[in-house]
């Protein structure tokens, strides 16, 4: 009996030690040798496994960029597919280190949920898709009164949908599923007339339907959906590493540093490029952040710059063929802007 009691007390003490140690994510990540990255259960262009089972997409590549910054090796990532409902709990509980899962940045998630969004890797907006063959003559979301609308539960999409129909005094009946694949199947089977999610997602989903050409995305965008990676609160160092990985991707594109020319660029005379790539004498930019000084070189070698990442996954190099639009750099009329790396 005494032994059991001692055992329980011992376990309790160990538990206390373990929970106290989880504060420094960078140390934990280095100790286990990889980054645990939360992604979607499969959304083309953002995070979806390819035919070899490797995760592809902007969100998956972003995790590789973080791994490259920390380890100098973009392959040291393990992916955890999460439903919309599971994603925050997984991050809060420490099951994953970064949540990079087409997640909308909102004030509620930054405050009450205890998260910190690091930036916006994709500026999106919510749209509607219908089967134009079954519903000829519908060409605006304002004609959708009375429709059955398929939507994923526990998303900002679900809330925007309610607001939009209420504002426009229209009726609808929601058909709500937890998993994206279930929503896809129900829409394809005709359980609902309309599919609503972020517009980029609609283009991706359309490709997976039985007859993609029958479906059209309506022109209305009813919300702002800034999608970006998030980390837990209470660990500033890790927050900075993930945030500046994102900015480094933008900065590299702005300076014209690509996957192909990054080695040549190291010898560049341009002081800004030299500084960003860690070639300045006695530079402390990388080590101050908690990574090596050639972190930007590693990031670009692993996934390229932001523009390359975009074109490869959702842009001209992908089946989605989404234009850069507001996701272009600020110098080209878009919203992507990095503070100076200096």
């Amino acid at each position: 009996m005494k032994h059991i009691a001692i055992g329980i007390l011992g376990a309790a003490t160990l538990g206390l030690v373990a929970s106290a140690a989880s504060a420094a994510t960078l140390d934990d990540v280095k100790a286990k040798g990889f980054i645990q990255c939360g992604v979607s259960t499969g959304l083309a262009g953002f995070s979806a496994p390819d035919d070899k089972g490797d995760w592809q997409g902007i969100d998956a590549d972003f995790c590789r960029a973080v791994a490259a910054a920390v380890f100098g090796d973009g392959t040291k990532v393990k992916f955890t597919p999460l439903s919309a409902k599971e994603r925050f709990t997984a991050l809060q509980s420490g099951e994953i280190d970064v949540l990079s899962r087409n997640t909308t940045w909102t004030i509620n998630r930054d405050t009450a949920l205890g998260l910190n969004f690091v930036g916006v890797t994709y500026y999106d907006g919510q749209g509607f898709m219908i089967n134009a063959k079954k519903l000829p003559g519908v060409n605006s979301a304002l004609q959708l009164s009375g429709a059955a609308v398929c939507v994923q539960s526990g998303t900002t999409t679900e809330l925007n949908l309610a607001d939009y129909f209420k504002t426009n005094k229209m009726e609808y009946s929601p058909v709500v599923f937890e998993q994206l694949s279930e929503v896809d199947a129900a829409y394809d089977a005709g359980r609902c007339d309309v599919y609503t999610t972020d517009q980029s997602g609609l283009y991706g989903i359309r490709l997976t339907l039985g007859a993609p050409a029958d479906h059209v995305v309506l022109p209305e965008i009813i919300s702002k959906e800034p999608l970006g990676p998030a980390v837990r609160q209470g660990d500033d160092q890790w927050y900075h590493i993930v945030k500046w990985t994102y900015f480094a991707l933008l900065q590299a594109e702005e300076l014209g540093i690509t996957k192909a020319n990054v080695e040549e660029m190291k010898a560049s005379e341009n002081p800004e490029i030299k500084r960003v790539l860690g070639q300045e004498a006695d530079t402390k930019i990388g080590t101050d952040l908690g990574v090596s000084n050639d972190w930007v070189v590693n990031i670009v070698k692993a996934v390229g710059n932001y523009g390359e990442m975009f074109e490869r996954n959702v842009g001209s190099g992908s089946p989605l063929k989404i234009a850069r639009g507001i996701n272009a750099l600020w110098t080209k009329g878009g919203l992507q802007y990095s503070p100076p790396i200096r």
Partner: protein
């Protein structure tokens, strides 16, 4: 008295430590202290971690505006309602599907259970195949079977199947006219209640008369006449206040009328058919548990087979059937949480959505656990009362 005291006194074992009574108390106290400490430590650790991660906690979030819509709601609900109300909507939906499922599963189960003991070879084998098939498939698959059945077999709304009484069947569910009660229709309800009360009274009187004199009275037909006739009379007297709201074709769906959604339909059918297989086995066990001599004795008294089953076998079988039947009812209620797979907004689904919109994971999971526990305990309590009334009263 004094002699008993002396008998109870145990021989001294010398040392206080070796006294089994003292040791027993000490060890029990230690276990309780450790248990309390462990619970306290878990709670404290959780609170500490939540504060450290800056996650809001407490149940205040239930008063916030939900902001999302729910497809199937038996009580008034809109996106302006509170999170608390959204959870209540889910709870009511769970209750509805569980109650409907329990009634249907019991009826199908009894028919199958009796059918498995039928003298007719075909009926016996059909019932056996049914039981063996449904009992050995996971309930989630049964639900998917019905759901994809509803979705892939039925036509889209524009090509709905027309059924009698202006009912329609399509992918979006089952539509039928909804009764719209006009002025004075309360009279019909009163008449219906009156009819039921009178039928009950007649049945009681008839029983007493049969006990006393042996004369029978056509209770069934009298009751039917009372329960159907009285409301009809009231309907005519109050000037035919009832009208119907018929489902009509609109741009997207049928509008108007009453719609039973495919999510509810498939969950309800799946749970009923799945649980019915288990109930059938319980009923069969119950009937087989009744001594064969009882049937033979009843036959010797000149009762017909139907009457033997109804008056002699089933009442005795019920004593064996009810306790395991309770577990099946509890299982059905808990299995209803599989609704989440097909998007029926039951307690688990709506509370899950609330969880995700608010991030209050611990509170929401706690609410779900407490509600399911309460629901199960309540079902148990009711079934225990039924069991006590059915139990053998020895004379």
């Amino acid at each position: 008295m004094a002699s008993q005291e002396i008998l109870r006194e145990e021989p001294s074992r010398g040392s206080f430590i070796n006294d089994p009574k003292v040791r027993g108390i000490v060890f029990q106290a230690v276990v309780v202290i450790v248990l309390v400490a462990l619970v306290w430590w878990i709670v404290q650790n959780t609170i500490d971690n939540l504060t450290r991660l800056r996650i809001a906690s407490g149940f205040g979030f239930l008063r916030g505006r939900a902001g999302f819509d729910i497809s199937d709601s038996a009580i008034a609900y809109s996106s302006d309602s509170t999170y608390g109300r959204a959870i209540v909507v889910g709870f009511v939906n769970t209750l509805i599907v569980a109650a409907a499922g329990i009634v249907t599963a019991t009826i199908i189960g009894f028919i199958l259970g009796v059918g498995r003991l039928s003298h007719n070879w075909l009926i016996r084998k059909i019932c056996m195949v049914y039981v063996e098939v449904f009992r050995n498939i996971p309930p989630l698959l049964v639900i998917f079977f019905w759901y994809s059945g509803v979705l892939s077999v039925l036509p889209p709304p524009r090509e709905s199947i027309n059924l009698p009484f202006s009912s329609f069947l399509n992918q979006r569910g089952f539509y039928f006219p909804r009764a719209v009660w006009g002025e004075g229709s309360w009279l019909i309800l009163v008449a219906l209640l009156l009819g039921i009360a009178m039928a009950w009274f007649v049945a009681r009187k008839a029983r007493q008369r049969q006990m006393a004199t042996g004369q029978q009275f056509p209770v069934f037909w009298t009751s039917a006449a009372l329960i159907i006739g009285l409301p009809l009379l009231a309907y005519a007297l109050s000037g035919f206040p009832l009208s119907f709201d018929y489902p009509k074709q609109s741009t997207f769906n049928l509008t108007g009328g009453f719609q039973v959604k495919p999510e509810f339909l498939s969950l309800y059918l799946a749970l009923s058919f799945y649980t019915a297989a288990f109930i059938a086995e319980i009923v069969r066990a119950g009937i087989m548990g009744v001594n064969k001599g009882q049937t033979e004795a009843a036959g010797a008294l000149g009762l017909r087979p139907g009457s033997i089953l109804r008056l002699v076998v089933i009442p005795q079988a019920m004593r064996i059937v009810i306790p395991p039947l309770t577990s099946q009812y509890l299982n059905l209620t808990k299995n209803s949480s599989l609704a989440i797979a097909i998007g029926y907004p039951d307690l688990t689904a709506t509370t899950g959505t609330v969880l995700n919109q608010t991030g209050q994971a611990i509170e929401c999971v706690l609410i779900m656990m407490v509600v399911y526990l309460a629901l199960s305990l309540l079902t148990s309590a009711v079934m225990n009362v039924v069991n006590a009334r059915m139990a053998l009263v020895e004379r």
